[in-house]
């Protein structure tokens, strides 16, 4: 009977090998997939109870976990909820957004860089803790931006983004209307669902980070890109004479486009500097038409259009400069037609000009630290693209300074400091007010901060809306906050 016993032994070996292979496949290979399954409440329940790391701005936490005495051990709290909600996002039982989502591995303690910490925790039998995330945000600038935007009214729809031109660090990112992430992090799940439903259905879209996710026509601020393309073409410089006048006949069309204030820009032939300074539509319509769609698109893409660049904050929408026909291309020169941009993108345009023509990749996470505060990772500044040559950047800077000193962007002027800026007022449909844009940087000779402001809708009367009057003072306040801490 021994031969069949040996056969049975082999059969049993196969059974047990199958069990072991299947267990390995399930617990090792499929482990990640199972853990991420949306039906898996186990992971989220544990994460919810764990002491999550803090999100820090300067020395102060804008999100942290405090001990809680209900069924979960810790409660996530946001000490400055409204001001920082677009950055921190929220951490609810159901989902996460913002930094809470992008840095979830570090904050929850699951990051592979925290392996040693985790091992020590396991051996010493202490509960695992998450690491801390240090943001690049300058608290003064953030406050200035938030207060400035809110000064236009509690319900104003708009956003402010400030960048350090030499590194790409995001110094301020504010969006309004905003929300209180504390209400979504609550352990009372019934009220969380109710609040979420309410926020989700609010037509003002408070959950959207307008700084990175709202794309709108950039209006006259886009003239910076048109001017950059013109100078880069080699045919123009700051003193070149360009077409002015009171209106422009769109190619292949019967439409004539006038200037914003109905004026004639100071003559039929004006310098490029003056054209930018008075934000002359006629000049930039004809320049864009002359440069053509391809050159314009190339220049826009060098500044970051048609792609996304912010990697550590979810939800960035790509600013678009698509292929267009001739009349549309002409209109794109003044930031109309199909051109759309986020406030972050327009801040990158200013920052690129400020940084000798090099656009740095924007980032919001400066450092990642272990629970014991040892440094795990520090984001290195990296070059995104060279938008224009150094000399072009210099000429554009001088033109923007003139725009602040003698032109439409006067509202951003800071006494004793050379400020470079550009206004924008983008038309939308007749039925709704135009969007007010403003972008600037300072000091012009050694730029420390570049800002973009978008006011999408406010209580200001329609005829008073202009990029300079609405956005200028906010940009000025943010720049001052960075320059005079």
């Amino acid at each position: 009977m021994n031969k069949p016993i040996r056969t049975i032994s082999l059969f049993c070996l196969v059974l047990f090998l199958a069990l072991m292979l299947n267990a390995t496949y399930l617990m090792y290979v499929r482990s990640g997939e199972l853990t991420e399954d949306p039906q898996n409440r186990r992971v989220i329940t544990a994460a919810f109870s764990r002491e999550r790391g803090a999100i820090l701005v300067g020395k102060d936490p804008v999100a942290r976990s405090v001990p809680s005495d209900d069924q979960y051990d810790f409660q996530r709290t946001y000490p400055q909820p409204f001001k920082y909600a677009p950055l921190t996002g929220y951490f609810s039982y159901y989902s996460q957004t913002g930094i809470e989502r992008s840095q979830n591995d570090v904050l929850s303690g699951d990051d592979s860089r925290l392996f040693v910490t985790r091992l020590v925790d396991m051996l010493s039998n202490t509960d695992p803790k998450g690491g801390n995330v240090q943001l690049t945000i300058d608290p003064e600038a953030q406050t200035a931006a938030f207060d400035g935007l809110r000064a236009l009214g509690e319900d104003v729809q708009g956003a402010v983004v400030a960048i350090e031109p030499s590194t790409g660090k995001v110094l301020a990112m504010v969006s309004n209307p905003t929300y209180d992430p504390n209400t979504l992090a609550s352990h009372d799940f019934g009220s969380v669902e109710e609040t979420y439903e309410q926020l989700e259905q609010d037509p003002a879209e408070p959950l959207i980070n307008r700084g990175t996710s709202t794309t709108l026509p950039p209006g006259s601020t886009f003239k910076l890109v048109t001017a950059a393309a013109a100078i880069e073409s080699g045919d123009y410089d700051a003193e070149s004479m360009v077409p002015g006048g009171s209106s422009y006949q769109l190619p292949q069309s019967t439409t004539r486009v006038g200037n914003y204030d109905g004026g004639n820009c100071g003559g039929n032939r004006i310098t490029m500097t003056q054209a930018l300074s008075v934000s002359c539509n006629v000049t930039f319509l004809s320049l864009a038409d002359e440069l053509g769609n391809e050159a314009m698109m190339e220049q826009a893409e060098k500044f970051g259009f048609n792609s996304t660049s912010l990697e550590d904050l979810p939800g960035q929408a790509a600013s678009l400069y698509p292929e267009m026909d001739e009349p549309q291309t002409a209109l794109s020169g003044i930031g109309q037609a199909s051109v759309t941009a986020t406030p972050l993108q327009m801040a990158m345009v200013s920052a690129g000009i400020a940084n000798d023509g090099v656009v740095m990749r924007p980032y919001t996470v400066d450092e990642v630290r272990a629970p014991n505060l040892s440094l795990l990772d520090k984001t290195e500044a990296s070059e995104l693209s060279r938008a224009v040559s150094g000399s072009t950047a210099e000429e554009l800077t001088d033109m923007m300074v003139a725009t602040v000193d003698d032109g439409t962007a006067y509202a951003a002027a800071i006494p004793g400091i050379r400020v470079a800026g550009k206004t924008g007022t983008a038309q939308s449909t007749e039925s709704r007010p135009p969007y007010a844009w403003f972008t600037s940087f300072a000091p012009a000779d050694d730029p420390k901060v570049a800002v973009a402001v978008l006011v999408q809708a406010s209580e200001t009367a329609r005829e008073e809306i202009a990029g300079g009057t609405l956005g200028g003072p906010i940009a000025k306040a943010v720049m001052e906050a960075v320059l005079n801490p």
């Binding site: 031969k3 069949p4 016993i5 032994s9 059974l15 267990a23 399930l26 039906q39 544990a46 039998n125």
Partner: protein, 467 residues
């Protein structure tokens, strides 16, 4: 013949010292796991660690001493494997007792009860070794055990004492005690099969028609297999217990194949069971349901009857990963019946793939030892019994672990020595005692043959010294 001589001269060593050393390791697993549960769940080593550890040690020592006294040549690896598994199971059940989350709040004394059952198991283990000095005595009871097994299997169908738990009619209740007669029946069935087959193997081995290199059995010999098939189908249909049905028929088939050395029986048996199972799948919603869940567990997560239990187990094991969350850091209480059928996922969640593989290996070794005993056993009855008892573990572990890890459709069976449940634990301790008894007989030095007989056909003229 000279080779035969050297074989005859080979004497197995007792290896009781090795067994004692392995038992120390097994105790370290059991008591260490208990301490780790205390640390993980309550932050301190449990106050009763000395009492608990002492009791566990005493049980193991008693079992070890019983082997030294009654079966000195028995296999030295089986008892340590069982001690380790039983100790780990106790610790995990204790961990679930300590959990106060909603699903686990009711069970607080399972580990205590399990320890009592283990004590009873060890008592029966010692009694089996002490009273049954030669396993061949059981051969006389072939038909008695067979009949008893059938009666036991039918008991849950009897009104008043039969008890339906989760759709399966496999329990009986007498007063406060409940009991799964199937656990005892499987041991009795193995004894009955072995006794029957060793007598009738020659007739059953006669070849019939030859199809594709395989000799199929003769039609007139199909009686026993058809009878056993009918019993399995009866269990499947009336007790709704797919696992036991598969287990009983599988054991019978394996023993039949070993007894007759005819692969043809495997073909006939597999075909019969496949046909029966297919008919069952066609006819019964609960079987279809099991198969559908197996094919796509995630899709049935929220349904009732659904795959919530299975999927929670899968989630738990996935979360445990390579080294597990550690005792107290997982959420095994999310899995209904984590202490019985789903104890392997509970182990996987908190102790990881490492522990699951170790557990599977322990079972693998138990089966390996059982089959080795069958190989070296000198009598047909012993061989068949050892194969049958080993196959119980192999099939049962495959069905339950394969079920909870999604390898095969889930069917309810206990995990030997790990799961909470008295009937299963006690029955399995007796199974181990029987295996050790056969092993002792097989490894014991062959009684000296008289000089005149030396060189003749030793197998047929062997004189067995009877006490």
């Amino acid at each position: 013949m000279s080779q035969n001589h050297s074989l005859m001269d080979f004497v197995h060593r007792q290896r009781r010292g090795a067994e004692l050393f392995l038992l120390l390791l097994a105790l370290a697993v059991g008591i260490g796991a208990y301490a780790a549960v205390g640390l993980g769940m309550e932050g301190t080593i449990p106050a009763d660690i000395a009492g608990y550890g002492g009791w566990l040690t005493a049980l193991i020592v008693v079992a070890h001493v019983a082997i030294r006294l009654f079966a000195p040549y028995a296999d030295p690896v089986l008892l340590p494997l069982v001690a380790a598994l039983n100790g780990l199971g106790l610790a995990v059940i204790h961990r679930l007792d300590l959990d106060d989350t909603a699903q686990c709040i009711d069970n607080d004394t399972f580990a205590r009860q399990q320890l009592i059952w283990m004590t009873l198991g060890v008592v029966l283990f010692v009694a089996t070794l002490a009273l049954l000095r030669d396993h061949r005595l059981l051969q006389r009871l072939t038909y008695t055990t067979g009949l008893t097994a059938i009666v036991l299997l039918l008991l849950p169908m009897v009104p008043f004492i039969g008890n339906t738990v989760n759709g399966a009619k496999i329990w009986i209740s007498v007063g406060p005690f409940s009991f799964q007669p199937g656990e005892v029946a499987k041991v009795l069935l193995v004894i009955a099969f072995a006794g029957y087959l060793v007598l009738h193997r020659d007739a059953l081995a006669l070849a019939g028609r030859r199809v594709l290199f395989i000799d199929l059995p003769r039609g007139r010999d199909l009686g026993p297999i058809l009878g056993m098939w009918a019993v399995s189908m009866f269990i499947l249909v009336f007790q709704r217990d797919l696992g036991s049905s598969l287990l009983f028929f599988g054991i019978f088939l394996i023993m039949l194949y070993v007894a007759t050395e005819r692969p043809g029986w495997l073909v006939v048996g597999t075909a019969l069971f496949a046909a029966g199972a297919f008919a069952g799948w066609q006819a019964f919603g609960h079987v279809q349901n099991r198969v559908n869940i197996w094919l796509d567990p995630m899709a049935y997560y929220d349904q009732n009857p659904g795959s919530g239990q299975l999927v929670e187990g899968l989630f738990g094991m996935g979360w445990g990963g390579l080294i597990g969350r550690g005792f107290g850091e997982g959420a095994p209480c999310r899995i209904p019946y984590a202490e019985s059928d789903f104890i392997v996922p509970a182990i996987g969640e908190e102790l990881g793939l490492t522990a699951v593989l170790a557990v599977i290996l322990c079972y693998g070794l138990i089966v390996e030892r059982a089959l080795r005993i069958a190989l070296i056993s000198r009598d047909g009855f012993g061989k068949l019994m050892a194969v049958g008892l080993g196959s119980i573990f192999a099939l049962q572990v495959f069905v339950v672990v394969g079920g909870v890890t999604g390898l095969i459709p889930l069917t309810g069976l206990t995990t030997p020595f790990l799961s909470y449940g008295g009937s299963s634990l006690v029955a399995n301790w007796v199974v181990i005692a029987l295996l050790l008894r056969i092993s002792d007989q097989a490894r014991r030095p062959v009684p000296r043959l008289s000089a005149t007989d030396a060189g003749s056909d030793s197998e047929s003229t062997q004189v067995v010294k009877l006490k």
